[in-house]
Symmetry: C2
């Protein structure tokens, strides 16, 4: 993989040139893209040219991937739907402009599930082409994991960043709600849609986030020390696969052995209700957001998505209002979970990437955190018995993105040491 | 003017046909549009044709106007900026689709200030062509006031719906935040941008909102009785023009005489801080939302807007975070203002529409309520000494849109009785 921090360090020391980075990118694409199918649009030559002309910035010259529901001026943006075939936005989404300001260049648009919902795309898991890379940010996660790009933007409305990061064995961050603007991103649910980021390691994600937002989010500049961790099994713990449950217990033990404090944290039943509220908000807002697609191109929607929009369209507005009230109450109550701990530790997904490409897996371990709008970071490094990546995530209070990133980075390093 | 409820009543009773409505629309456009300049795009013939083919719905066959920062598939959407000349979205924004579902048809795109900010457009006030109609939803307010359309969509980020409604002497509603989806609407500030609605009378607005949202928001079906009103002068009362101050005092007396309870309500200083926080959030988010325009077409932005984006770009993220915390605290505290009253009464603008077309007036009496995300309704019917409209607004707690509309409707009727 192409670690952002490693590349920049090597560029800085003169061991590597922009040409060298593009040689590696080209080599990885030549070798992997035919099977992985991460890109909907790709323009290596013009990225290379723009990169060579880049004049400084924290991400000077680095190519990046952009999920194909995020607008780009220089490439089509097709939302993973035939309804939007050949669509060309006039403007870049702000996240793209902000990355360009930092010196990075768009390498390509990465494949997304249909309109960032559940209906899969053709992308395969770089660890096993017979398995899903997760979704909806399938191509972004796979492109990073296959070493084709050092970082890529994704989005998460339920589990679309953390789950594919877990399945592909890379770092993924879903920052606090609206830390990265969703302007220029195809909307599904305006209270849930969140722009996220993928990179090989947690410290890479933190560096890119810092460069884009101008906030102090780097974790590679000092030692933050061992965090106080709350181990949250959630009310769906029984639905995690045995190997995931064992992995979590083992992570807790290893973190303790490395000096972290790990205590059990149980969330009150309000948070189970909040997880249910997610679906109501998602479906109600999705039905409004995609009203034009539904009314004018209904036959071009997948049956899965149509069913969700039908459900959303027939929800009573009072049920939606009640779901929002539940979400609001849960957001306020969430601070209580952090009385004795800095961050929470919980599964990123029910298990490793499931077999087959007909589903991108289940977001049941993600929807609650997305609803709460709190930062989540997938910690890479664990594998199951057959060598497939297993992901665990670190969750922090709203606005504590650096706390989440620092703890996740600490944990990634602790796990790497065995 | 073309009252929605009057038109529908006359259609229903057979006194009027769709042809008759379009005759009136055409007559008003022929007579007024040359001076008022409300429309950026107008297609009377195709609206008439679609209207004649409309098959039922609460708004069956009614033409409407759409502010030109709201996407339409059938007409250009140019955001009031040369950067977006000839831009053609592929999809309708959800609010447009929802109005079409209710049977209404797009008559035209109404003129907006540059990117819905302060730099004015060419629209004039239907009451005096030497005066501003207000902005940024200049064309929507003017088109309704000139009788060219029965209702129109606008937006409000500071005062862009309530102020033009006041200056043009019509009803305007800025609903609770995100009651109407902002999807497909050009973003300036994602925490502030709100889709609003204009119509001749408050009951017209309530009817259209109800038809679009499927919520029980009509106020023409029963008598809601006299409201308990809190008279809020705000911390900027001294900056209201003497005639506006006198008008408000007189409204309070007349409401009392008609059976309303009117008490003074003073908001704590937190709300003055919140009004200041509005600018920080507005400018910070505007600078991110319009990053592409700034970086790639900076010379095509007005100097006013460039200055705002420069300010926003150089704000420290911690100042932005602090402003959001202040806003959050004020939203929670706002419930206290309604201990003894149902709604608040406060100026819609400092006075009547100012002379000249170089400015759209000042949103100083609007920004706080937009920041709070609470429903606001401009009550039409008052005039100043020279016959120009003066607007007062009714404000209610978040989610109490019907309470706001019912009280505003009551007040509009009370004022009409003298």
């Amino acid at each position: 993989m192409l670690s952002v921090l490693d590349l920049l360090r090597d560029l800085d020391s003169g061991r590597l040139t922009i040409q060298g980075i593009f040689d590696r990118v080209e080599e990885a694409i030549d070798r992997r893209e035919k099977t992985v199918k991460a890109f909907a649009h790709l323009d290596l030559a013009s990225a290379h040219k723009r990169s060579s002309n880049a004049v400084g910035g924290a991400l000077a010259g680095l190519p990046f991937g952009v999920k194909d529901i995020i607008d780009t001026a220089e490439m089509p943006t097709e939302y993973g739907s035939p309804i939007w075939a050949d669509w060309r936005p006039r403007a870049d989404a702000p996240v793209v402009t902000l990355a360009k300001r930092a010196g990075a260049v768009v390498l390509g648009k990465t494949r997304t599930t249909e309109l960032a919902h559940m209906h899969p795309t053709v992308t395969t898991n770089p660890h096993d082409p017979a398995r899903t890379p997760g979704g909806s940010s399938s191509g972004s996660a796979a492109a990073v994991a296959a070493g084709m790009v050092p970082f890529a933007f994704g989005t998460q409305t339920a589990g679309s960043t953390i789950r594919p990061a877990a399945f592909c064995g890379i770092a993924g961050v879903k920052p606090s709600f609206r830390l990265l603007p969703t302007v220029g991103v195809k909307t599904f649910s305006w209270h849930l849609d969140t722009v996220g980021l993928f990179a090989p390691h947690v410290a890479d994600c933190a560096f890119v986030l810092s460069a884009i937002t101008g906030r102090a989010l780097r974790v590679d500049t000092k030692n933050f020390g061992a965090p106080r961790i709350g181990f949250v099994r959630t009310h769906r713990w029984d639905e995690a696969e045995p190997e995931m449950r064992r992995a979590l217990e083992s992570v807790a033990r290893r973190a303790t052995a490395r000096g972290a404090t790990v205590v059990d944290v149980t969330l009150p039943s309000l948070f189970a209700e909040a997880a249910d509220a997610h679906r109501i908000i998602n479906d109600f807002e999705g039905a409004e957001s995609l009203a034009w697609e539904y009314d004018t191109h209904g036959a071009a929607l997948s049956p899965e998505l149509r069913a969700v929009l039908d459900h959303g369209r027939h929800l009573d507005p009072t049920a939606y209002d009640a779901a929002r009230s539940t979400a609001h109450a849960a957001r306020r109550k969430f601070a209580d979970a952090f009385e004795d701990v800095d961050v929470l530790l919980t599964p990123s997904a029910p298990g490793a990437a499931p077999e087959g490409l007909g589903s991108t897996g289940n977001p049941k371990f993600n929807a609650l955190w997305t609803l709460l709008g709190v930062p989540c970071v997938n910690v890479p490094g664990l594998v199951d018995g057959s060598g497939l990546p297993l992901g665990v995530q670190i969750v922090a209070p709203f606005g504590k993105d650096r706390t989440a990133l620092a703890a996740a980075d600490w944990l990634e390093r602790a796990l790497a040491r065995g």
